[in-house]
């Protein structure tokens, strides 16, 4: 009988980890639906980027208030997890504060004290975040894509963190031994008086209940990630590692097009030659669905935490256009999830559902054509997400597969084709400026 709590704990832990691993596998499978792109070069620069941008949060602090608050929550999250290790071991072994005798009152007290201070700071930061979202109503949290689930999701995460941090502090405040010995109770000593009238047994019960809800909450939160925008806590690392390292102005050249153009311009090529037998389906130009995007673009979609810094600097969005780079990422993820579920429901193969990422269900042509390709969104993203590359791939699809460019752009392209300039001037007049005062 005495091992029942250990058993329940072990089952809880195994279930939590089991479902989490299942979700991770789903994410990996979905990301692998993307096309191949080689990002295996310049390893040292990639590690450096990851260290600076994900670990070091260098792009977060470009906005000092939210950046600083975020660093507090981030540092708290990582450091307090050391305590979770003890909690898990205690749960499995049926011990209470296993590390206390090992580390001694002094050092253990120092650690617990640090955790308590961090927990309080995180609690304060998270409350400020909640106020920013719900009371001050900062504009980037109010764009039209931030209604319904995305808005609730943002708040749920904050409630989760508030509850977890409070439970951690209550757990310490109601730990009679910790309070009596004054071990690291820097913050919890001020909470302990709230429970002063309660019997030792009652106090112990509150301590135990807090302990159990706290660890259960952590496991639930771990599994909430998959359904939430909060995956960035994991994916920010690979996302910054695999991000584009080239100049932001360099858009990739479509290799299949190069082959065709070179063949066209080769004076020795036989225009009537039959295509080689094994060529198969002609390659589709650009992207109309998630499977046309590359895996880094799909990982970008899962990494996006919907902070909206991209949208808040987008010239199109700032002037009231439909385009929002954040919405591009959110829609890409939603469609990818839909495709993933379709694959699961159909024994591992995708069945056409009559939908596409580009179209009325998700990203509209109006959004795609409003982009100025200015790279502000790419520059701004704290984890190096690249919404622009998706927009450009979709333009390529619209023009090369659908001939669906806006009329004025067709005219511009016709001019380039006919006379080598976007305007209808003869190439022979290219030097006229020399003699015009």
């Amino acid at each position: 009988m005495q091992y029942i709590p250990n058993l329940i704990f072990a089952l809880l832990l195994v279930a939590g980890v089991y479902f989490f691993v299942g979700n991770v596998k789903r994410i990996i499978r979905n990301i692998k639906l993307g096309k191949d792109v080689d990002r295996s070069d310049q390893k040292s620069e990639r590690w450096a980027n990851m260290a600076r941008i994900a670990l070091g949060q260098s792009k977060m602090v470009r906005r000092p208030v939210s950046g600083l608050l975020h660093i507090i929550v981030y540092a708290g999250f990582i450091i307090i997890n050391v305590e979770v290790l003890e909690i898990i071991l205690d749960g499995l072994l049926g011990t209470h504060r296993l590390f206390l005798p090992i580390l001694g009152n002094g050092f253990y007290g120092f650690l617990i004290g640090t955790f308590e201070v961090l927990a309080l700071l995180v609690l304060v930061a998270v409350i400020v975040f909640w106020i920013r979202r719900n009371v001050i109503k900062i504009k980037r949290f109010l764009n039209k894509e931030m209604t319904g689930w995305p808005k609730n999701d943002g708040n749920f995460i904050l409630y989760f963190e508030m509850v977890l941090m409070s439970l951690f502090l209550i757990m310490n405040a109601t730990d009679a031994h910790l309070q009596a010995a004054g071990i690291g109770n820097i913050v919890s000593q001020f909470i302990a008086p709230l429970f002063s009238g309660i019997s030792p047994e009652g106090l112990h019960t509150i301590e135990r209940v807090s302990w159990w809800i706290h660890i259960t909450g952590i496991l639930v939160f771990l599994n909430y990630l998959y359904y939430s925008k909060h995956l960035h806590i994991l994916l920010a690392f690979p996302n910054t590692f695999y991000a584009n390292l080239k100049a932001k102005g360099q858009f990739s050249n479509n290799k299949n097009v190069t082959k065709e153009v070179q063949l066209m311009m080769d004076p020795n090529a036989d225009p009537y030659a039959a295509p080689a037998e094994d060529e198969g389906e002609p390659e589709k130009f650009g992207a109309s669905d998630v499977t046309d995007l590359n895996w880094v673009q799909l990982m970008n979609a899962y990494t996006c935490t919907e902070c909206g810094r991209c949208t808040s600097v987008c010239p199109a969005n700032l002037t009231g256009k439909e385009l929002s780079p954040r919405a591009i990422m959110m829609k890409t993820r939603d469609r990818l999830q839909e495709v993933g579920k379709n694959i699961e429901a159909n024994n591992g193969t995708f069945q056409d559902d009559g939908k596409q990422l580009l179209g009325d269900d998700y990203i509209t042509q109006e959004e795609i054509w409003a982009c100025t390709s200015c790279n502000a969104c790419v520059e701004e993203c704290p984890v190096n997400i690249d919404p622009l590359s998706i927009i450009m791939d979709m333009r390529q699809y619209l023009v090369m597969e659908q001939s669906a460019a806006p009329q004025e752009l067709n005219a511009m392209m016709q001019n380039v084709e006919n006379n080598g300039a976007p305007w209808p001037y003869s190439q022979m007049d290219r030097l006229n400026w020399v003699n015009e005062e």
Binding site: T258, T319, W369, S373, N375, V378, Y397, L409, D429, L431
Partner: protein, 262 residues
């Protein structure tokens, strides 16, 4: 002042080669406002005795607008044709006053066989100054408050924020004031990504008007930029605000030429 503008084919016929090719670009060749920038830059090249040449009628669209409009096929046709011409003339170095040509030739041409050292004209003029080939010590403008608008394809796209500012600061009698959104955080003029050639989508205002507001907040006499498209967009923005009597939109090269009395 008549300009000296050698054409590369003529030089070749005489058995000569230029040190650098000046890529004029479609806007620089045909747009009335941009042609003035082209001429100002040539005046500077002439003043510094740079051995340059242009492709003249052998130049064609860089393909930037086509690529950003989604027509990869047309882009690569343009790029490969231009590369064939430039490689035939053994071109090694290129300077251009258009950040769009600068970006695409520098970054997107190499994979297609065009490997050149490419400079934006502000970078090239800075080099001339630093090498002592162009003396700006007596260059002076009449008490001008200047604000610089970073072209996206020079700034964020290629991380060049300093060259134009170096030149503007080197001119006497000027005061350079930054906009609230500048350098990495600069706001687009609204022309990039082939927007120059189409009407904007439905919205609450035009991008160039918003950027013009940014610029006007600094109370400038001159809005300087380094891109023919930005120039057009901001000039229109100034007209929309009815400020054309007080505020001028100028390219950095025009300001340098003016300060040198060219």
């Amino acid at each position: 002042m008549s300009l000296i503008v050698p054409v590369i084919a003529d030089l070749f016929a005489q058995g000569k080669e230029p040190d650098i090719l000046f890529w004029v670009g479609s806007a620089g060749s045909f747009d009335d406002r941009a042609k003035k920038i082209t001429r100002a830059f040539v005046k500077i090249l002439n003043k510094a005795n740079v051995n340059f040449a242009v492709l003249g009628t052998e130049e064609s669209s860089s393909g930037d607008a086509a690529k950003r409009a989604g027509n990869e096929f047309l882009f690569q046709m343009q790029a490969i044709t231009n590369i064939e011409v430039m490689n035939m003339y053994n071109v090694k170095k290129i300077v251009t006053a258009c950040p769009h040509s600068f970006n695409t030739i520098k970054n997107e041409y190499p994979e297609l066989g065009g490997n050149y050292e490419v400079f934006h004209h502000t970078q090239f003029i800075q080099q001339l100054v630093e090498n002592g080939e162009l003396d700006l010590s007596n260059a002076k403008l009449d008490a001008a408050t200047i604000t610089f608008h970073d072209p996206c394809y020079l700034g964020r796209a290629n991380n060049e924020y300093d060259a134009p500012r170096f030149l503007l600061k080197a001119l006497g009698g000027t005061n350079l004031v930054e906009m609230k959104r500048s350098k990495k955080d600069s706001l687009c003029c609204g022309a990039g990504g082939a927007q120059m050639f189409k009407e904007p989508e439905k919205g609450t205002m035009d991008v160039n008007d918003l950027r013009t507001q940014d610029a006007l907040e600094t109370n400038p006499n001159v809005i300087a930029t380094g891109c023919p498209f930005c120039n057009t967009m901001l000039t229109d923005g100034i007209k929309n605000k009815k400020k054309e009597a007080e505020v001028q939109v100028k390219d950095v090269a025009e300001l340098v030429a003016e300060a040198l009395g060219l």
